[in-house]
Amino acid sequence: MSTREGADIDASLETVSRTEDEVRLLVDETVYSREAVLRACYWFTDRCYLFVSRPGPQRLLVSIRAKPGAPSLDRVAGDFGNALLDQQVRQEIARETSRIRELIVAKAFAEGNLMDDPPVGDDRDPVEVTRSQAPGNIARSRDEE
């Protein structure tokens, strides 16, 4: 997070104004997605009052006011910045690992015979497949016969 003075350091999340009871954060949507902003907001509506507007393309302005009895406004705003980063990272990891998660779920369902239709593609563990095709294994299976 940066302030006006440090805007050149990190302009992706910038405090554009700070009054006694309100902090306004300008979020760069090319860095933090709208989904990450929405998720962070969702987690913070229990401890502060939020209002989100769009001052321009690729920009979201988040106005934060602390609720009565809530932690200090600076702390809430700082936590919000952390939550925003957390949500963005989660989103990127989810995108990067979506294929492997799909395979794991497909394999789990296939092994449990819970699916009517077999999963698309080969859901077998490639290590197990290689091992079963090794010459020693073939010889052993012939001996067993």
Binding site: T45, S53, S63, R65
Partner: protein
């Protein structure tokens, strides 16, 4: 009142954050406590206004609670549909 963007006495809610259906539901759910009307609607924004009751402005805390509620409903709708 919040320092949110106003348009001719109204409050602009961008649809990329506030889902129109959720705004309507929030208005309906808050009807016993707050009188909110939609002044205008475009493809991208809704403009809402808080009506006075008995000549008094809408209580600030209830307005903020309403906006939080509208945001909550909108996030559930937008992300639920994503």
């Amino acid at each position: 009142m919040t320092s949110a963007p106003h348009a001719a006495g109204g409050l602009i809610l961008t649809h990329s954050v506030y889902d129109p259906g959720s705004i309507a539901k929030a208005i309906e759910d808050y009807r016993p406590h707050l009188s909110v009307s939609i002044h205008g609607q475009s493809a991208t924004d809704s403009v809402i206004a808080f009506a006075e009751r008995n000549g008094e402005k809408a209580p600030e805390q209830i307005v903020r609670e309403f906006l939080n509620y509208a945001l909550d409903l909108s996030v559930r709708t937008i992300l639920g549909a994503a």
